[in-house]
Symmetry: C2
Subunit: 406 residues, 2 copies
């Protein structure tokens, strides 16, 4: 049991109450039953990204340890839409659209969690049946002051930004889902802590002895390196994105995000992660090389190793092409060189002729390390024959860009 606790609690940022997970695991063992893990889903936004995967991977660990995942599709409010009409991008969904989105979501979900011990609920099944009088009784179980502990409500109220009355209901609806499925654990990002504690309090108000334990995973910052990864900020990598996009987007993250991404997005074993982070900190390894490993690992998780390799190749070709296109090439007149037009010359000889100040041995190293390209193709063979034609472009190392001219 304590080894399960140690394994499952690893990487969790916050457990409320602190000893809650230990007690729930003990309870499950005593009562010989699995824990019920609640996972909510907004059917207006069915796309999962690496930020969601941080939570889903932890949930998979619980699933693999024998516990049950209860996915709640929030179709009740999705079918209402935004009643203020302010958010025109969120019109109400039809029941059919909710179903399609839920299916999309579940397909993505299975990129992380297994199909065993997974139950799917639609909260319209209970919320849609509530009468006005049920609503009043539900709302009587919380106070305005409790709702105002939610940071965004409080900030908006203090700054005179309108809060429509129905918005105060939403945390209660989400909380009531916990009552219905009798969850033991609810996961969420740190920003969901308030909502999830409403669920715990409601369960206890409805007579459950110990309400759900709330587990928070660290938030993953998105591609911009500042904001939490989210679709609306367009700083995300979707779980179903093509391998090339996943790889390329990962390569675009700022270096100072790397440690966080190694921890939260890769599936390297612990030792590998520790070593990578150490290498990053001591400056021994180029951050670009570590980023390549992270990008490769992410693609491998959501596609496969072959796709990861292809994506890496594609990325380098593209980047080099881009490097080529964006550079200014120094024109070199072929008649000033010692080669005939349309003749073929070994790469190393061509490089030595172009940069006579550089030793042949250092040029050989450059070629073999992949730092030399001809017409955007990386050439690592010093003996490769290059045609001496007008328009041929050659990049040598980081600073030398030549274009042959007649």
């Amino acid at each position: 049991m304590s080894s399960q606790l140690e394994k499952l609690s690893k990487g969790i940022e916050m457990i409320v109450p602190v000893n809650g997970l230990a007690e729930k695991l003990k309870e499950a063992e005593t009562e010989k039953r699995p824990l019920i893990i609640k996972l909510g889903m907004d059917p207006t936004a069915p796309d999962l990204h690496l930020g969601h995967a941080v939570v889903l991977k932890k949930i998979r660990e619980f699933q693999e340890a024998g516990h049950e995942i209860h996915l709640i599709v929030g179709d009740f409010t999705a079918q209402i839409g935004d009643p203020t009409g302010r958010n025109t991008t969120r019109p109400p969904l039809t029941a059919e659209e909710v179903k399609i989105n839920a299916q999309t979501y579940i397909e993505q979900l299975h990129k992380v969690v297994g199909t065993e011990r997974l139950t799917i609920h639609f909260n319209n099944d209970w919320l849609g049946k509530m009468t006005f009088s049920d609503v009043i009784k539900l709302l009587s179980r919380a106070t305005l002051a409790q709702m105002m502990q939610r940071e965004d409500f409080n900030t908006r109220y203090t700054n005179n930004i309108p809060i429509a009355l129905h918005e105060l209901l939403y945390p209660m609806l989400q909380g009531y889902d916990s009552v219905e499925i009798n969850s033991d654990i609810e996961f969420g990002g740190r920003d969901q802590l308030f909502n999830n504690l409403v669920g715990k309090n409601l369960q206890e108000s409805f007579g459950k002895k110990n309400g759900q334990v709330v587990l928070c995973m660290p938030l993953l910052r998105g591609l911009d390196g500042v904001m939490k990864m989210s679709k609306s900020k367009n700083n995300y990598i979707g779980l179903t994105e093509p391998a090339n996009d996943m790889y390329g987007k990962t390569m675009s993250i700022p270096d100072d995000l790397l440690e966080e991404w190694i921890q939260l997005t890769t599936d390297f074993d612990e030792e590998t992660k520790v070593n990578m982070i150490a290498d990053l900190k001591n400056g021994k390894t180029n951050p670009m090389d570590i980023k390549k490993k992270v990008a490769f690992n992410i693609v491998k998780q959501y596609h496969d190793e072959k796709a990861a390799q292809e994506a890496e190749n594609f990325f380098y070709k593209q980047v080099q092409q881009k490097g080529f296109d964006s550079k200014t090439f120094e024109p070199v007149c072929i008649s000033n060189l010692s080669f005939e037009i349309n003749s073929s010359v070994k790469l190393l000889d061509l490089c030595a002729t172009l940069i006579p100040t550089e030793s042949k041995s250092s040029l050989r190293r450059l070629i073999e390390s992949g730092a030399v390209s001809v017409n955007s193709d990386k050439c690592t063979d010093t003996n490769q024959l290059i045609s001496i034609n007008s328009g041929t472009k050659i990049k040598i190392g980081k600073r030398h860009f030549f274009e042959l001219k007649e």
Copy 2:
């Protein structure tokens, strides 16, 4: 029309918006339709008192001018009760209890308003049919900041006194009643202004061009002379109270409430009211005498003239009895007087013997003005024969109390 406006707006403390009543009357005239006057009723508290009557009398004027009263029995929330369970004195009412209470209320109502042009609604007919999704759409039409303009919410929130979430709904429910009956005017005390304006705003949010006009009548202070008359403060006179209680309670109000009560509780014509208030202010008339007129008038309105006369008689007998019982009587030995024991003596002669310093003519005036009592019976006949017995008690004016002894 302008004479109707002048008459109907008389005595109204506040009209929101200021020119709203004038416009509504014009609208009614143009469209040749009556105005719809909304009157809400809480079926958990069916007892009407003089405070309610202030509003009801003004409503009667509208009714008599051809407009329609729409009474809304708030059975929806009454059937829910106080869901917090904090208010154990307000358990939910059954449909049957609501019906009985509504009947009680309507009987009392007819002590003030007529039976013509009166429609009765039960708001459970519309609120009870609302689904959760309807509730959300309704609540989206107002903001938290708007609700917090209500003084008691604001005070409680500021002082950390809990406001249960469902309490925030109640003004919206009351307001939605206005949408359903499409009211033109809602009456209420000054303390209802907030709720009534919610109704106006909701109507406009639902597409009505000019929402209901809100009319506030002055608040009537209760028997204590400080608080608004209300059942919970036990400072009220119920419209169905026995005549003697009505009379006696009115006599108990502090003098400085008299002007307010002349204006708000009596049905004297305007000139009489003005004169009474002038008398009160210039000190020509004893406030007690004005109070008697007010008490008499109130009983006459809610019972009849005969009952008012009887209540006055009863009150004086009781008060005098009480006066007798609470006084210290000066023992007068019969043998010191010039009368035989068990003889009968004229009242004026007895008084003259007991107070030899007073002139007979002034004693006669005292007797005739009702200031002399024998054994708690007022005696206004100077020739009435009094038995000279041990134990006979005589009160003469305000300061002389004698008891005959052998």
